[in-house]
Symmetry: C2
Subunit: 98 residues, 2 copies
DNA sequence: CTGCATCCGGAATGATACTG
DNA sequence: CAGTATCATTCCGGATGCAG
């Protein structure tokens, strides 16, 4: 399996990269991600578990019943790929040239 | 919708980036992609149609019943994102450090 | 009130057989 | 060789329920 396939195996599912992109701005809580991305709650829970298992993010306990999700070093390493993809997305039809 | 979401809308489906990665080496024919990537034939046809519609690749007629798929400029612009993702994939568990 | 699990219908994906 | 048609399976998304 190629390295690209291995990467897509981890972050190739529907919301993974969007979640990581949001976390590049700093740790976020569950509800923040949910409202900000519009991701269904069950999908968010599933992706967060997978991304945590893959070492992309980790849970930071805040107070009881409240925690934040923060990128690990491996998660932050996705920044370049995410930025490259987002820049590519700028040139797609339907995006104003700003 | 963010630029990343727009990009994933085009190349976020299961085989899209793997197909483009393969085409970065130069134009390929249907059977080449199918055997090289192990992608199911119907998925390959679907993705090729979508990627062509999105302006990522184009068909090059070779002879009767034979054509090749080649990246457009927009398709080649995905190279950076793909390479970034592939480099990220190198550091995942299960990959030897070489 | 926030963080999740479960249930269920619909969409995406995959295996295989068949056609021009 | 380059696809299409069909059907099984798996994934996704919205609603709802429930625990801390």
């Amino acid at each position: 399996m190629s390295n690209l396939a291995a990467a897509l195996d981890v972050v190739g599912s529907r919301w993974a990269l969007l979640i990581v992109e949001r976390l590049l701005d700093g740790p976020q809580r569950y509800g923040d991600l949910q409202r900000d991305l519009g991701v269904p709650t069950n999908m968010l829970a599933t992706r967060l578990r997978e991304l945590e298992a893959a070492g992309v993010l980790s849970r930071l306990p805040l107070r009881h019943n409240t925690r934040a999700y923060a990128l690990t070093d491996r998660g932050r390493a996705l920044g370049e790929a995410i930025n490259a993809l987002a820049r590519w997305g700028e040139d797609l039809p339907g995006n104003d040239a700003d």
